[in-house]
Structures are given as C-alpha cells and as structure tokens.
Symmetry: C2
Subunit: 291 residues, 2 copies
C-alpha cells in the first residue's frame, strides 16, 4: 500500500503497527522517528527488526514517506504536528492513534489554521498495560475496533486510504464524528480507568493495604491490573477528554450517593434494581447484536 511508512514513536502501538504492516506486506520500508531520549527504544526496535531504520532527525525520517502515523502519547501530538509542519507533504497521508480525538483536531487547527485535508485522525481500541516496543506484537489489532474521525475538510481519498490500511492491519474500522467518539470513549475507557486508579489509590493508602492486596478477590485484582497502566498516558488522556469525563464523574458520584442512601435505609429494592440492571446490561447488548 505504501512505499515508506514513518512512525512517529515506536512503542506498543507504533511497534505493533510496524510488525503487522510488515507481516501483511503493506509497506516497502518502515522507519521510526523518536527523540534522543527515546534512543534505547529506537535501537531496540531496529534490533528486533520491527523497523528498518530509525531517526532522531525528523526531516530525514519523513523524507519520501507516503504514510506518516503519529504514535506518541496524546499529550505530545500538538508538539509533533508543529514539528511536522515544515515538512508536510501533499503526497502523503497522515494519521495518529490518540485515544482522544477532539484535542487532536483542535491541535491541528492551532498548528495549521485548519485540519489538513490529508490528516485522518484515528484511534485503535487496543492496547495493554505494558508499553514500549518490546511489548509490541504482530496481531495486536486483529479483530479489534478502530475508529476513524474525519472532519469536514478531510479528503475522502485520504480517509479511504487510512481505512484500508487499518483493515489490512486486521482491525474492524468504524467512522464516527469526533465529538461522538470522545463521548463514547470517556464512558467505555477513560472513566473506568480513572475509577480503577482512584480505587487502588484509596485502598493502597490504608493501614491494612498489605492485607487488602493479600486477600484481593476477583474484583479488586482486576482493578489493580487496570491501575497498573501507564500513568503518564492516562493523565494525558483524562486531561485531553476532561470535558466529557467530568460530567460522567459527577453522574457516578450521584449514583454512589443513591447507593449509600439505599444501604443506610436498608432499601433492598433500590440496590437490587441497580445490581440487576447492571448484571443484565451485557446480555441485553449481546441480544441486540444478534437481533
């Protein structure tokens, strides 16, 4: 599909894109760009054969590339777009993998005045608690969801190109409005992660914390695993999507108020309703899918 793919950042996601693109023969050459501080990771990517070459000079990295994917943490995307601007090529397509999209579109507007027509914001819903190129795997995106959020001025050809690229990387691609993407992801990913961090922080500060971990049953173990995700990445994501996240936090506190009151008043019916509705939610969803 592409002559030269340039990955800006080659961590878990960037590395997994490179591995899958090579495995499926989608690009002749795959290179990575990183900062000097990332040199160890870049060298490792080269050593593992994940990329053909790496650069700490951006101009050299993107030279003749016909696909450039920004695979840095969300918080770095505006800076990267600013650095890419002098070398921006009309003959390439650009994309990113940020977990929030409104802030990426805003960043592009600030850097370019308006979103370049060949920049197609995208978000693969895949990942893990690990990070770095050593955590990258070939099949990471197989049968995973990927959301593309083109804006009004996006060139449909660029969108089609990124869509096809991701489909051939193994993903199930949906196209969605930027704002809608951020609302859905705040609910399905950002709030649950915030909640896991907050709960583990709360319990980890208690005097009985050693016992709390020792006797951790199913429930809490899942929370500690989620809360072992990269704090910098999740800080970026939560700040970037705070306009969608804050109302959800407020609604959750209201629900907790309701539960607290119901427990105090021995209101079995209220609690049972909540638990039952929640327990059936996944089943309702599965039913809707098959109908």
């Amino acid at each position: 599909m592409f002559n030269k793919l340039c990955l800006i950042g080659v961590g878990l996601i960037g590395g997994s894109i490179a591995r899958a693109a090579r495995d499926r023969g989608l690009c002749k050459t795959i290179v990575a760009y990183g900062r000097e501080i990332d040199l160890d990771n870049l060298k490792e990517a080269r050593r593992l054969g994940v990329v053909d070459e790496y650069f700490i000079n951006l101009e050299a990295a993107v030279k003749d590339a016909d696909c450039i994917v920004i695979a840095t943490p969300v918080g770095a995307i505006e800076k990267v777009l600013g650095e890419l601007q002098p070398y921006w090529s009309d003959r390439a397509v650009y994309s990113d993998v940020g977990s929030t999209k409104g802030n990426v579109v805003d960043a592009a507007k600030r850097v370019f005045g308006s979103v370049p027509s060949n920049f197609v914001p995208a978000h693969p819903i895949a990942g893990a608690e690990q990070s770095g190129v050593t955590a990258s795997v070939n099949g990471l995106f197989d049968d995973k969801r990927l959301i593309i959020t083109p804006v009004e001025q996006t060139d449909p050809k660029a969108t089609a190109s990124i869509q096809q690229f991701w489909q051939r990387l193994g993903a199930i691609v949906s196209i969605m409005e930027v704002d809608h993407h951020d609302a859905i992801l705040a609910a399905t990913s950002h709030l649950p992660h915030l909640l896991a961090f907050v709960l583990v922080d709360l319990l980890g500060r208690k005097d009985e914390q050693v016992e709390i971990f020792k006797y951790a049953a199913g429930g809490f173990k899942d929370f500690t695993r989620i809360a072992s995700s990269d704090p910098t990445m999740w800080l970026d994501i939560c700040l970037a999507n705070r306009q969608k996240l804050i109302p959800l936090i407020q609604q959750l506190k209201q629900e907790l108020d309701t539960m607290e009151l119901a427990l105090e008043n021995d209101d079995s019916q209220q609690i049972f309703q909540t638990f039952t509705y929640a327990g059936q939610a996944r089943q309702r969803f599965l039913d809707q899918l098959t109908n």
Copy 2:
C-alpha cells in the same frame, strides 16, 4: 476426616466443597439439604455425583452428620441457623462460607443467645460470576485464601478441625478477628463489586449504551464481567457489611471530588500522583511479600 458431611445449599461453593472433599477422600458420605424450590439443583447435584443424597427435610439431612457447612447466600444464614437449632449436635462441627462474618456471628447470637462453641465461621475467597451446582468444580479452592473467624467462645478443637478440612480442600487458611475480616473484605471485594454494578448501571442507561458496549476496551469489559455476578448474593453481602462499606463509599466520593477538581484546574501533578501511586501499589505489595 468426617463420616458424613452435610451441605446446607449445594451451589457453586457447596458443590465445589463436595467435589473437592470427595476427590481428596475427606468424607465417607456427602449429602445436601435444600428447599423444595431448589429441587432441580439438588437433583442435578445428585445426577452429577456431586453428592450421594439430597434432602428437603432438614432433620434427615443432618442426622449423624459430623460436619455441617452452611453454603447458602449470606442473607439466608440466620434463617438456616434457626432451623438447625432443634437438631444442633455437640458431636458435630458447624461452619459457613458467608462473605461477611459480623452478621453471621450476630445471627448466631440472636438464635442461640451466644455463638455455639462448635460453630466456626469461615469465608473462602473464591467464586466466580456463575452460580449453581453446574458451575461447581473440584479445584475451586486450590491455593485460594480462606479466612476463619473464630470468636472468644469457639472451641479451639472445632477451629482446628475446620482449618484442617479447608487446608485439605486446597485452601491457604488464615485466622482473623471477625471485625477485621469485614473491614478487609469491604475494601478488597465488596466495594469493587458495588462500584462495577454502579458503573455498568450508569453507562447501561445512556442513549449510546449499545455503542458503549460495542467499543468497550479493556477497562469497561472487566467491569461488565464483575457486574454480571449474582445480584441477589451481592445485595445480601452489601447490606450485611454496610457498616464497613458506607465509609468506604464516602471516601471514594471524596477521591472522585479531588480528581474532578484536579481535572477542572488542569492540575496534572495531583492526577499524576494519584495514578502513579495506584500503578505502583501492586508492585509495592509484591515487594513486601518477597522481603
């Protein structure tokens, strides 16, 4: 170890006790008692060979039993103790498997005036989202934690007997004060479950609920799985342990307030601290274990 084990209730836990006891040759005869409404499950337990016999007559069920384990939902334990009282035998040991222990001890006091010396409250920290005898498995307790909470008047021989029984069923047994057990379990199990129910309820009521489930990434999927646990059982548990649970809900709301404010004020440092502390909590615990 025992001539006749009588299980009051043969669901996931009761059935798994029976399977493991038989597998390890701990009891000559294993019987189950249930209500008429539970007849299908009792028949299934017999059909599967999990128990030798089943009864809907309590007197017949416990006759000559030297170990009686109450494996009903927490909310039913007081009723069961009341029904057992006329047939209570000094030559048997009694135990239960309730997830909360303060309420079980209180129930025993209400029924018997004081906790019988041969009743040893216990709690296996094992289980799953499924319920019923068909979900029971032989190795459910292998290397799982089990907490015994004897009270002042408990006969040490009865405690030792139950401790050995559970060790031979595969569990790692700890002995703990009743109140301490309930505080630890509120943190490590009851609050996480309540939180999962509340979150899935909240998101399941949104207009975008189908999409929220469709694009569920790692985080939310774990919550929906936890929230598919038996609502009746968790209602019982949360009500039984509400004195420990309510303060934790209040503390959690305070932490959510802090996060909301930090997001509003762009206070990266506060959020980063919380996320980092949480992310390292499991590692700190693992380090403490090995030191």
